[in-house]
């Protein structure tokens, strides 16, 4: 069967499997319902300062697994919900940034620069509409690039890369992630290697689980969900609580927020912002396709480029609609493109992609990577059907974004009134409960808290946690690829340099590290 047959089967799976209701005679499938719920929930979470897509994904995953189970039928509803959250949170993050000068998510920080001045000028409604239009445009553009690039990249990887090249590619990805995030290349590499070391505990091929210290608790390896949620979610909660604790000690108050206004978006406004949306969508998509960089840098690059091109009356930073458009289009364009490395290479590039991998690790039937797009004559590749089902879910979320997303987003200004110092302790308990629901033993809570402390200390010492988490996830794949490459090349110790492609990947890895290390040192001196 060809690719188009799989595309059709993916669309059919999303719209017809497991109908839960009928509207105007048309059956509404569970996946459609879950995408819609995830999208609307994502907007709510994004609009709540202190929360974000990763929080919602972490908390909902165990509940979704309990509802839908571990078999392949669960894949599309669960992944559809997570995709919905990812997209909704990106849109929702602009709401508090514009209305209250408080970014709902880190990538909305640049939105405050022009969004809040627009609110002060009484143009809050226009700013929100511009943010929504730009965000939905950037997201849609990015998804189209994902749909066209991921299958071809995966097919190329599968055709040309053997074990040594795959091992070298994982090393290159980890080197890139380590080098580009955080304030020091060496800290990034240290975090990645620490993540790999943690993943090696209790695993291996010997009868005795290595590095388990004779403990039954460590013999099965560190639980993936406990480590990931501990470092990503609890580490962030602890650090944010400490920031507020310090603020209270210093000023005897925790910052509160004010209210905003309303206005219209006209056709001439859209014409005015369109070049900025187009440019930022391109920047965001390129940035998103590279593992580890993320939407915050995309927003910064989009805003900086927009400021250089801008010739209008209102300057960037004084409430220019083009500033809001440039930022929102760029950060939203990351969300589709960052699934390119996940689906084509099996390498998660950012936090949202980590949760997609966590879901597929838990539910059977879908292993993101080059094999997903492998075509076999006269046979259906069930994984490819899921991949195209996932693309269909993304299109569906975009349609929801274009139709009801704007109205729902503009009604979410109220979420900023929830005090962060009361919300985050609830997130702490919610995360521990979610962990326990998935793995009902107190040990999993203790492991999560320990890695929460690790994540907190890493943040305080200015280590980025992303290299740690991604290396933890990829470590065993890398070890397996290295073992097989070593065997396949007849125990050649130079197996990573056995072909021009693997040599190129290793050279690129070294170049990336040297380039960013030299750049940072020069900036620091």
């Amino acid at each position: 069967m060809g690719i188009l047959d799989h595309v059709w089967l993916g669309i059919v799976a999303v719209f017809t499997e497991a109908p839960v209701a009928t509207v105007l005679g048309l059956p509404i499938s569970i996946t459609v319902v879950m995408v819609a719920l995830g999208f609307l929930g994502g907007i709510v979470v994004g609009a709540t300062p202190g929360l974000g897509g990763p929080f919602a994904m972490a908390i909902s995953l165990p509940i979704l697994i309990t509802i839908f189970g571990f078999n392949p039928d669960a894949l599309l509803p669960v992944l559809g919900f997570l995709i919905g959250i990812m997209k909704g949170a990106t849109v929702g993050g602009a709401v508090p940034a514009i209305l209250f000068n408080t970014p709902g998510t880190p990538d909305s920080l640049m939105t405050t620069l022009d969004g809040f001045p627009m609110t002060r000028k009484g143009e809050a409604g226009k700013a929100l509409r511009i943010a929504h239009f730009s965000s939905a445009s950037g997201d849609t553009f990015s998804d189209i690039v994902l749909f066209t690039c991921a299958p071809f990249l995966a097919i190329t990887v599968e055709a040309y890369l053997d074990f040594p090249e795959k091992a070298a590619l994982i090393i290159l990805s980890l080197a890139f992630i380590s080098a580009v995030v955080g304030d020091s290349v060496w800290k990034g590499i240290l975090a990645a290697l620490f993540g790999m070391f943690a993943a090696f505990i209790g695993t291996g091929e010997d009868h005795h689980p290595r590095l388990s210290l004779g403990s039954d608790a460590l013999a099965g390896g560190l639980p993936l969900i406990s480590v990931v949620l501990g470092v990503l979610i609890l580490g962030e909660v602890f650090a944010a609580l400490e920031d507020m604790w310090r603020e209270k000690r210093a000023t005897d108050a925790i910052a509160a927020q004010a209210a905003g206004g309303d206005d219209r978006l006209k056709l001439r406004d859209i014409r005015r912002i369109l070049p900025f949306v187009g440019m930022s969508a391109g920047i965001g998509t390129m940035v998103g396709a590279l593992p580890g960089i993320g939407s915050t840098l995309a927003a910064t690059l989009g805003y900086a480029t927009g400021r250089r091109l801008h010739r209008g009356e209102v300057r960037f930073g004084d409430g220019a609609p083009e500033g809001v458009a440039a930022t929102e289009a760029a950060n939203s364009a990351v969300s589709g493109a960052n699934l390119i490395p996940v689906l084509s290479l099996g390498i998660p590039g950012n936090v949202a992609a980590v949760f997609i991998i966590l879901a597929t690790e838990t539910i059977s039937g879908f292993n993101p990577g080059p094999a997903v797009f492998r075509l076999t004559p006269d046979q259906v590749n069930a994984e490819m059907v899921v991949a195209f089902g996932l693309f269909t879910a993304m299109v569906l979320a975009n349609l929801l974004n274009w139709t009801i997303g704007g109205v729902f987003m503009r009604s979410m200004g109220i979420m900023v009134r929830i005090p962060k110092q009361r919300l985050l302790p609830i997130v702490l308990l919610l995360t521990l409960t979610a962990i326990y629901a998935q793995r009902p033993e107190m040990l999993s809570i203790y492991v999560t808290l320990f890695f929460g402390l690790v994540g907190y200390v890493m943040r305080r010492l200015r280590f980025s946690v992303l290299p740690f988490v991604i290396a933890f996830i990829l470590a065993n794949n890398l070890e397996e690829a290295v073992r097989q490459a070593f065997s396949a090349t007849g125990a050649d110790p130079w197996f990573l340099f056995s072909s021009p492609i693997s040599i190129a990947f290793m050279a690129l890895a070294a170049l990336v590290v040297v380039f960013f290390a030299r750049g940072r040192e020069r900036k620091a001196i």
């Binding site: 620490f194 070391f197 590095l211 110092q421 302790p425 702490l428 308990l429 629901a437 033993e441 907190y456």
Partner: protein
């Protein structure tokens, strides 16, 4: 030229960890070596991956220390006495909350039994309301209310009410709709 003390400190700790792991932990706790030859077939052993990781960590730590000599010292400390005080306060709240979560249910059941209730052990009642909710409700409220109190530096009635409502809401979210989900600590009993 000023030295970044945090980079040096991190580098020293990581280097010590790497030395201990390579010298003691890996030899004592990994069955196979770095490379193994078995029936003329040479394969990578279980010690290879962790050894490579810690050697890489040590190398990165050395380079971090070198960069610490080149970077100017930052104005703000990364982790100071205030951070330690906050960690101790929050850890106290979490430990108290987890202890309450673990022991409230069994203690309540023991108390009922001691008063002549003869209701059986907590293990037998771990999926029976209201006993299955007691530990989570008390422990959860201690964690949420305590963490709010740490940040606000006082315990208000509003924070206590918010903690109880949030914990009840989580019970409704996680336990009431699902027969096969267990709230902490009931899976361990």
């Amino acid at each position: 030229m000023r030295i970044d003390p945090w980079s040096l400190g991190i580098a020293a700790v990581v280097a010590a960890f790497a030395l201990l792991t390579l010298g003691v932990w890996i030899p004592a706790d990994v069955e196979s070596g770095v490379i193994e030859t078995f029936r003329r077939r040479t394969v990578i052993g279980d010690a290879m991956a962790p050894s490579a990781a810690v050697i890489g960590m040590a190398a990165a730590a050395v380079l971090l220390a070198v960069s610490g000599f080149l970077k100017p010292r930052r104005k703000e400390a990364a982790f100071d006495g205030q951070s330690a005080l906050f960690v101790v306060q929050l850890a106290g709240v979490i430990v108290a909350g987890l202890a309450a979560m673990t022991y409230t249910g069994p203690l309540a059941v023991d108390a009922v039994n001691a008063l002549g209730g003869a209701i059986g052990s907590y293990r037998e009642l771990r999926d029976t309301a209201p006993y299955k909710y007691l530990g989570y409700l008390v422990g959860g409220a201690v964690i949420v209310g305590g963490a709010i109190a740490v940040v606000e530096q006082r315990l208000t009635r509003g924070a206590a009410v918010a903690a109880v409502i949030a914990t009840v809401a989580l019970i409704v979210l996680y336990d009431v709709p699902f027969d096969d989900l267990l709230l902490p600590p009931n899976g361990d009993q």
